[in-house]
């Protein structure tokens, strides 16, 4: 059993998620009585492998989730995969996987490109580091979910405006529900991003006092991109809130959610390929490692 679990690799769950995504895409082409079960089976198998992989790393490689950029991305993907499974089981006729699974796969791809080295930690910084990581994780997952709901809102509104009956295998949730999810996730994303940023400042101050890690300067790319992301999410939430009582409010919120995910994507890419002192041990001389958003 131990040998089996230790043998699980990223490829195992990526392949399962990819097959589940292929099943989702095939909904548009033809009907099948077996596809729903196969889709859920592959997604569940991928999720199980994903869970065991993270669990194995946490127990045997001291890589507590959120302790490295690699684990952070994989945990974000894991949360979205859990959301996909839950939504698919609750609403089997809604092709939510067409929108969520590509995000899951993209996050796993980002994990592969990021560092697996754990952040240096002491008991004091461990708590603040976990808080910082969790809030940023919640913000990113909320942005992704909001964008998926926003995109689905725009597609559904387009169909209703064209006065077309729903396509076979492509029945979207109602605009009312999608607008509700978009609005909720926008609010959660903005405030968790603020909390993540503030906890990052506290963590930085603790690190500076204890000399465990590099103090990240205000001009560091990670600080700048996170500040830009937080600022945008606050502005987006405020704009969506202001438009709430307007007839085009849900449409504005849907577009804002798409811009938010674009800003997050740019931020992640900047993190993957940019240089930073974020998460570097105090002894490190050169800023060579990327960090989680």
């Amino acid at each position: 059993m131990v040998a089996f679990i230790s043998g699980i690799s990223v490829v195992c769950f990526v392949a399962s998620y990819a097959v589940a995504l292929a099943c989702e895409v095939s909904r548009l082409a033809f009907r099948s009585g077996m596809r729903g079960a196969a889709m859920v089976a592959f997604a569940a198998a991928g999720f199980l492998a994903h869970t065991l992989f993270l669990g194995w790393r946490a127990v045997n490689e001291a890589a507590v989730p959120l302790s490295s950029p690699f684990d952070w991305y994989l945990l974000a993907a894991w949360l979205l995969a859990a959301g996909y499974l839950w939504l698919t089981l609750a609403n089997p006729r809604t092709p939510v996987g067409l929108f969520l699974l590509p995000v899951v796969l993209a996050l796993v791809g980002a994990a592969q490109l990021s560092s697996r080295d754990p952040f240096p930690q002491s008991p004091a910084t461990q708590v603040w580091g976990a808080i910082h990581g969790m809030f940023n994780l919640a913000a990113s997952v909320s942005v992704a979910l909001g964008a998926v709901a926003g995109l689905m809102w725009l597609i559904q509104a387009g169909r209703l405006a064209r006065k077309q009956a729903p396509l076979q295998g492509f029945r979207m949730p109602s605009l009312e529900r999608l607008a509700h999810v978009t609005g909720r996730t926008q609010g959660i994303a903005a405030w968790t991003a603020v909390a993540g940023f503030v906890s990052g400042i506290v963590l930085n101050a603790v690190n500076g006092r204890r000399g465990l890690m590099e103090t990240v300067p205000w001009t560091d790319p990670v600080v700048l991109r996170m500040a830009a992301l937080v600022a945008w999410l606050i502005v987006a939430d405020a704009l969506a809130h202001a438009a709430r009582r307007r007839a085009d409010g849900p449409r504005v919120a849907a577009w804002l959610s798409l811009v938010s995910v674009l800003v997050l994507t740019v931020s992640i890419l900047w993190g993957l390929f940019g240089a930073t002192r974020h998460g570097m041990p105090a002894a490190a001389a050169a800023p060579v490692r990327e960090a989680a958003p």
């Binding site: 006065k163 009956a165 009312e176 307007r246 007839a247």
Partner: protein, 424 residues
């Protein structure tokens, strides 16, 4: 084993004759009781809906299903109609065609509205009435079970019954439900008293709508309609305020000019505070100025819009026909194979009994010659004999089953009877 069917549908029987031929549940029960007395030992099921009257009969070899002429006369007698009137309009089928027809009917492939699901409940009811009146039996039982299985497969494996094709159902299920998640917290406004308003309201009620207001140009008519539909009446001069408060409007007035102009709607809009509004304008000419539909948050659908969606759904159902037909064919083959195989049961029983008898006699002889054998050894030898017999019997029984798939295996049965000296 024989199956017979006599029946007529909206395609073959004129409405006035269909009305006379139709059976209520009580009349069907009486007819089946009469069938039981007239044709003892036979099975019968009567399916009577507003679009079809069909009598399914079945019988074993020594009591075959009644001939078509007998069934036509029987139906005519039950309903007091001249059999001469029925003969030219009722279709008659035997054996495989009966099963194929029933499976198509149960799956909604033979319905006036292709793929409509109500027929399945009517088939189940017909079967229940036959069971209650003791005219159902093993043959019709298997056939009706197979029909229900076929209908379920068609419903799950094809999209035949998925898309709605009536304007009110499309309006509610494909459009209003695309905007709103639930209707129990929405305010519905009916403007006018057109025929489709009540039908649309029925679908809205099924979806959970509770708060319904009726506005009509004639106050008395609004009160009357509201009482009939379980709604709240409102005066026509309150129309603007009611639209401002509504989430969904169903409009079916007979007005020759738009009842709600763009200017009127612009005045109403401010009071709506951005809430989305679904307007189902089912009136011809239209009650709402078409440009209202281009305002943000307004989802306006006219009869033509909904009819186009219905037509698209209808075409989509038609596209599913080959897949549905393939399921019916497959289930018919399977059912007929099982039915033919069933007719081989007496021969198989005789064959098994003969081999078992011979085996027992040989074992007795062997055990008498070897009295020192203990019980475990005897049991082993007995098992070996049984396995040997089963293995020898397997090829002919397999051939019988496979031959049954393409029709009654009369040739093989005769050969087995002659080879093993089996009696009828």
């Amino acid at each position: 084993m024989t199956l017979a069917l006599v029946g007529g549908t909206h395609r073959t029987v004129p409405l006035d004759l269909r009305e006379r031929l139709a059976f209520s549940a009580e009349q069907a029960a009486e007819a089946l009781a009469r069938f039981r007395d007239r044709f003892p030992g036979r099975e019968g099921v009567l399916l009577s809906t507003c679009n079809r009257v069909e009598f399914y009969a079945a019988g074993e070899r020594n009591a075959a299903a009644p001939a078509a002429e007998q069934l036509v006369s029987f139906l005519a007698e039950c309903r007091g109609i001249d059999a001469g009137l029925l003969e030219p309009v009722l279709s008659q089928e035997r054996d495989e065609a009966v099963a194929r027809h029933l499976f198509s009917v149960a799956a909604g492939l033979d319905s006036m509205v292709l793929g409509e699901p109500q027929i399945l409940a009517q088939v189940k009811q017909a079967w229940a009435i036959a069971q209650d009146n003791h005219t159902a039996g093993p043959l019709t039982g298997e056939m009706f079970q197979a029909a229900l299985r076929t209908a379920k497969r068609v419903a799950t494996e094809t999209a035949l019954g998925r898309e709605r094709i009536s304007i009110p159902s499309v309006a509610v299920a494909d459009f209003a439900s695309g905007v709103f998640e639930r209707f129990d917290d929405k305010r519905v406004l009916l403007v006018g008293a057109g025929k489709m308003a009540a039908e649309t309201l029925r679908y809205l009620r099924e979806a959970g709508a509770r708060d319904v207001t009726v506005v009509n140009r004639t106050a008395g008519r609004a009160v009357e309609l509201a009482a009939r539909l379980g709604a709240r009446p409102a005066r026509f001069d309150e129309l603007a305020a009611e639209i401002a408060a509504a989430d969904l409007v169903v409009s079916t007035t007979g007005a020759t000019e738009p009842v709600v102009t763009e200017e009127l709607f612009a005045r109403v809009e401010a009071g709506r505070r951005g809430r989305p509004l679904v307007i189902l304008d089912l009136a011809v000419p239209r009650d709402f100025a078409p440009r209202i539909g281009s305002r943000p948050g307004v989802w306006l659908y006219s009869v033509d819009d909904l009819a186009a969606a219905c037509e698209a759904n209808r075409r989509s159902r038609q596209r599913e026909m080959p897949a549905a037909q393939a399921i019916v064919d497959e289930e018919t083959r399977r059912f007929m194979g099982d039915l033919h195989h069933r007719s081989t049961a007496p021969v198989i029983e005789q064959l098994r009994a003969g081999w078992s008898e011979t085996g027992e006699a040989e074992l007795d002889r062997l055990f008498r010659r070897l009295p020192t054998l203990g019980d475990p050894e005897r049991a082993e030898i007995r098992q070996a004999f049984e396995r040997y017999a089963a293995k020898l019997l397997h090829p002919p029984l397999s051939s019988l089953r496979s031959e049954s798939r393409s029709g009654p295996p009369h040739g093989l049965l005769d050969a087995l009877k002659r080879l093993f000296d089996l009696k009828d």
